[in-house]
């Protein structure tokens, strides 16, 4: 059987710019508030009433020719057999070369122990609300929305001193599910699957529509493709 080559297609015409993908990603992968594995670019043009608005969801492009991988001195950042760009936190030395090499700004560095807000004893409104620490303690987890399933293939919460990024929810894909951002999208704008399977949703979408990628000139050969245009039929 041919090797899998996972990819995602984002249909900008279907996208409504609700950012449900961003929130689902945070909850699924225990991503700190200030990090954005799933992110978006917002563009506003023109002067009222002649204005246009564009919303481009972004994430790690799981590039075929990934500079984060080629530059990593420890092979902590690596290409999996199935085309995903993954990160082994146990090998990472925190040199941040991958962050410098990635043109898309999708890698985040844990300068401090993450989720500081859930170790803070200061209540948001003293005498009226819990402090972050109390909330985490009552939830019995490092953070109230902690998802233990994430820890199947990557540390549930990444430690201080290492980088982290989107993994295409490899832990879900491994058990036959789709990435959290795909499942959460209320507009079915995200299609995930194996590009080597002509019947897969992304392969079919790419056969029908002209695919575009971010910063094509960088030569990274992204595996996240964009079809159609936000707000245009």
């Amino acid at each position: 059987m041919a090797k899998k080559r996972y990819a995602m297609v984002i249909d900008l015409h279907r996208c409504v710019g609700c950012a449900a993908c961003d929130i689902a990603c945070k909850a699924e992968n225990n991503v700190p508030v200030e990090f954005h594995w799933s992110n978006h670019i917002v563009e506003t043009r023109g002067t009222f009433p002649n204005t246009t608005f564009r919303y481009i969801p972004t994430l790690c492009n799981h590039c075929e020719n990934a500079p984060c991988v080629t530059n990593c001195p420890t092979t902590a950042m690596y290409k999996a057999e199935n085309g995903m760009t993954l990160h082994d936190a146990n090998k990472c030395i925190g040199c941040r070369l991958c962050q410098l090499a990635c043109p898309y700004g999708v890698i985040f560095f844990n300068k401090e122990t993450p989720h500081a807000n859930y170790r803070d004893s200061q209540a948001a409104i003293p005498g009226a609300t819990f402090s972050g620490r109390e909330v985490a303690e009552r939830a019995g987890a490092p953070l109230p929305y902690y998802n233990p399933a994430r820890a199947a293939t990557y540390p549930g919460v990444r430690p201080r001193g290492v980088v982290e990024k989107c993994t295409f929810c490899d832990h879900k894909v491994a058990v036959g599910e789709e990435p959290a951002c795909v499942t959460a999208c209320p507009a079915d704008a995200r299609l995930f699957g194996d590009l080597n399977d002509p019947e897969s949703k992304p392969a079919q979408a790419l056969a029908r529509h002209r695919p575009r990628v971010l910063q094509r000139d960088k030569g990274t050969q992204p595996h996240v493709f964009y079809i159609r245009e936000y707000g245009k039929a």
């Binding site: 200030e34 990090f35 954005h36 992110n39 978006h40 670019i41 917002v42 563009e43 506003t44 043009r45 023109g46 002067t47 009222f48 204005t51 481009i56 972004t58 500079p67 991988v69 080629t70 530059n71 990593c72 001195p73 420890t74 092979t75 902590a76 146990n90 090998k91 990472c92 030395i93 925190g94 040199c95 941040r96 070369l97 962050q99 410098l100 090499a101 990635c102 043109p103 898309y104 700004g105 985040f108 560095f109 844990n110 300068k111 430690p159 201080r160 001193g161 290492v162 980088v163 575009r212 990628v213 971010l214 910063q215 094509r216 000139d217 960088k218 030569g219 964009y226």
Partner: protein, 319 residues
């Protein structure tokens, strides 16, 4: 209204002053080693104290730079992973190997120069460690340029002149640091290898190397500017951003005080090398100090200025 773009990225510098320090000190060490080797191999006896000073600078400076880089690592306890995992596509991985070998060889070379009478196996002689150290020194110098030049997401770094600048910087700063330290030491320590007043007379070729190196650096910086100014849109924007933030610093300390003034001082001093006359040690020291300040400023502007955020108009390009 103009186009407004929003994308929330992680803030702050990725590589800070510690990396600037690593690259600067690495360059100084490599240049000092090559200078020491050439003096030891080809210069008269009266220049051997200078060769010793330069030889000691080499491993100390490169190790100090590596120390800064180590300090910068987020997960220091994992550093052994670089040795456990082979990553031949990574310039940094090669850099770790090459620098490790260089520090060992240059430390042995310095030891042999300082203690020639200590009995050691022949394979650890100054000739063997020196000759083996030369290609590693050149490789470390090129590595420092290549480390940045391969990061094509940073147009300021991904250019040919960046590598040339690195090579020229190690030549100039290595020699300047050795001479400066020697001049300073000479005011405290008496080197008994001949009359010290005739010492500077023979340094005319070294003065030429420094003047030519500084002049070539000026030309390379100009080539770097042309490359970016007339390059792709991201390159132009990156240059603009860097100059807006660090342009004055680069012009004043990197080019004015750091290259042009030492060249002028060097040219003025040239006739004083020879004919029984010597240039003032203070003036030689000052020219060297200025070159070091210039070298550090250029590294600083390139490393820190090269990381200014990519314009969102570039990041949002779909094609």
């Amino acid at each position: 209204m103009e186009t407004e773009l929003i994308l929330t990225l992680q803030r702050g510098l990725i590589w800070d002053e510690r990396v600037v320090g690593d690259l600067f000190l690495g360059g100084v060490g490599v240049g000092a080693f090559l200078f020491a080797f050439l003096l030891w191999r080809f210069a008269e006896e009266r220049y051997q104290p200078l060769a010793k000073v330069a030889a000691v600078i080499a491993p100390v400076s490169v190790s100090a730079g590596l120390g800064l880089l180590f300090w910068k690592l987020g997960n220091k306890l994992n550093v052994h992973q670089m040795m456990l995992n082979v990553s031949p596509t990574s310039v940094m991985w090669w850099g770790a190997l090459i620098q490790g070998a260089f520090v060992t060889l240059s430390a042995l070379f310095a030891f042999r120069l300082l203690f020639p009478h200590v009995r050691l196996p022949k394979v650890l002689s100054a000739s063997v460690t020196g000759v083996l150290g030369v290609p590693f020194a050149v490789a470390v110098g090129i590595y420092h340029g290549l480390l940045l030049a391969v990061l094509t997401s940073h147009p300021l770094w991904a250019s040919g002149p960046m590598i040339v600048t690195s090579v020229l910087l190690f030549t100039v700063t290595g020699v300047a640091a050795s001479l400066l330290l020697y001049v300073v030491l000479r005011s405290f320590v008496r080197f008994d290898t001949g009359p010290s007043d005739t010492f500077a007379q023979g340094l005319k070729p070294v003065a030429w190397v420094l003047i030519a190196g500084a002049a070539l650096l000026l030309i390379t910086l100009f080539a770097w500017w042309v490359d970016l100014r007339f390059g792709s849109i991201p390159a132009r924007l990156a240059l603009q951003a860097m100059l807006a933030e660090y342009g004055i610093m680069l012009a004043v300390f990197g080019i004015g005080f750091g290259l042009v003034l030492p060249i002028v001082l060097g040219v003025l001093m040239l006739p004083r090398f020879g004919d029984g006359r010597t240039p003032s040690a203070a003036l030689v020291g000052l020219a060297c100090l200025l070159l070091l300040i210039g070298g550090f400023t250029i590294r600083y502007a390139a490393v820190i200025g090269g990381q200014l955020p990519t314009p969102l108009s570039v990041m949002a390009t779909l094609s």
